[in-house]
């Protein structure tokens, strides 16, 4: 998924939400702080956009209405591409997006969103909150007068929708696939052609054969997008986005003006939202996957091992090049990869070994 696609796909898969309904108690209170939250998603976009509403409502409820936060969908107040700058200069007080959208500001932002073959949601949160990740993220965003934190995670995404089978590394050659960012760079090195397409053109391009494949998010968002009608092969796992962190970024001056209790409310509301999003994705993806397979006849398939091995090797190359050319990326990656190397051993004997045991 990429920011620009969400913007162009406004209205697709949007669900009504009453999450912003204000309780009588809150309305009665006097708002001491009126904040704007600019988001990189269409208003009410399922899970990603509704999480912004949930976060705003949580802060309002806990503050008894002392902070009121108006949530703006992409382009409602500022263009989605400008959310980061808008909050940096204080035009809005708060933003909601994903850190890899700002790689033009610093390539190191990508380590706070998703890295191909990187860490899962549970692992990333261990790193952020108790493994040294958050202080590095704060240091990076401090340059931009921003305070960042996590407000959600997609969990492992899907590899995408393919018109033809992928049986070997050779099948990646010449493959025209809509896959942005680092994943796209990896596909390119495997001989494929990453294509950049606005969200609104993905479906028709896949259906017409103008592209051979596309990735999006996971079963819940992909089903709402109707991609199963354009290609029947649904491959897993999402090697390019194994646990994408979603973020908020807060203007430092606006935050400093809050009294200590409201500062605590804003910060803890974000951690609550982080728990809520992965839980919502887990619940909704599992239902959607069931519907896709059992109702819509989707062919659910694993990418072959040799393909995964090749993509992993190429991913390491791509990440290493970032680390080699950017000093702060080097610093972040030392922490990230050090944690990952160690936590993988723990995940292997805990989460992985148990899930394997359960299926015997």
């Amino acid at each position: 998924m990429k920011r620009r696609d969400f913007i162009k796909s406004a209205g697709v898969g949007v669900i009504a939400t009453s999450a912003m309904a204000i309780s009588p108690q809150v309305v009665a209170a006097k708002a001491e702080f009126k904040w704007k939250m600019v988001t990189t998603w269409p208003k009410n976009f399922p899970v990603l956009g509704t999480n912004a509403n949930y976060l705003a409502k949580t802060i309002e409820d806990m503050s008894g209405g002392r902070i009121r936060i108006k949530v703006y969908g992409a382009n409602e107040f500022v263009p989605a591409f400008e959310a980061f700058d808008a909050v940096s200069r204080g035009t809005a007080q708060m933003g909601h997006g994903a850190a890899y959208y700002w790689k033009g500001k610093s390539e190191a932002t990508q380590f706070f969103a998703a890295i191909p073959f990187g860490m899962t949601a549970q692992e990333v949160n261990g790193w952020l909150y108790h493994g040294g990740g958050m202080p590095l993220w704060e240091e990076l965003y401090d340059r931009f007068n921003l305070i960042p934190t996590a407000i959600g995670n997609s969990g492992v995404q899907m590899a995408g929708w393919f018109r033809k089978d992928i049986n070997s590394v050779d099948d990646l050659k010449g493959l025209k696939m809509r896959i942005p960012g680092l994943g796209g760079e990896v596909l390119k090195r495997a001989g494929g052609t990453p294509v950049s397409l606005p969200g609104g053109e993905i479906f028709t391009s896949l259906q017409s054969g103008a592209i051979d494949a596309t990735e999006w998010v996971g079963p819940y968002n992909d089903m709402a997008f109707g991609l199963y009608k354009a290609a029947k092969n649904y491959y897993y796992p999402g090697w390019h986005e194994p646990g994408s962190t979603l973020e908020t970024f807060i203007n430092k001056d606006a935050f400093a003006k809050l009294p200590a209790d409201l500062q605590a409310i804003v910060k803890h509301a974000c951690k609550d939202a982080n728990m809520d999003m992965i839980s919502e994705f887990t619940a909704k993806n599992n239902i959607a996957l069931d519907t896709l397979v059992n109702k819509h006849g989707v062919n659910l398939k694993p990418l072959p091992d040799d393909v995964l091995i090749k993509l992993h090797a190429l991913s390491n190359e791509v990440v290493q090049e970032i680390v080699d050319r950017d000093a702060f990326s080097q610093k972040v990656y030392a922490s990230y990869s050090g944690f990952q190397k160690q936590v993988m051993r723990w995940s292997d004997v805990s989460e992985y070994a148990f899930m394997r045991a359960r299926n015997l």
Copy 2:
């Protein structure tokens, strides 16, 4: 792990914490509500006890000191066994423990803590927050004038410490193992002898050979407990506790007296704490595992497949008997197992498939 063992092991592995330090702003505010939180852990017990401190501090910080919560370790105010009743009758306003400790009140409580071969942390939270779990838990605790919610998860625990190798199902026969609850019942049906021992006697019993094996929690807590000095074989995965939910329970009358903003603060602080605990366990278990293997020469081993298959079949028997004899358990299990069956398919193509791919 079981409540009584934590009580008896007070002082073991306890770390100093400054989590309860109150910021100047908070001290300045007038406390409108003074609450007692009774816990089932020794004061400051690593992760489980310190999470209670973290939760209390989060609520105090967000409320600007309008709620002050004094955290009591097991037996400091009421015996740990009586925490549930104490909060139920309003002697304390809040408790901190794990729902399976109250199976004497209702066998259905166990589904809100841990079930052998049940769901992982991420799956359980999906069920609780977005899959129908929380309303059932609230309905169950309403009988006791309590409001429950999750405040943490251990993640997948370890199978335990064994003096001898476990090579087949036959090696479980006659095995004297300290393993309480449903896991103990399963071991018994496999021909073993589950032993109940207070925490303070586990180490010496294992060292002397009075018992052949013991489970405890995971690498971080197990290392603090020194179990690696008494047995070198450390088996995984923790089939008996694959994602144990830790809980708080709040007196309904005390909660009803709070204004809406403080009610929101208490509820959201719990969800924040839930995110914090699994993150802390993930970070600390991975470091401890590394130390146990590379510094203390522990033999890290998987339970053989035939053993896991046998334990799974016996676990299903044990759970089914609970469901057959208890109406509310039947209702909860219909929801729990329905969600698990479906989410396992999603976990298999997301978390599991990715962790496998990453290791190729």
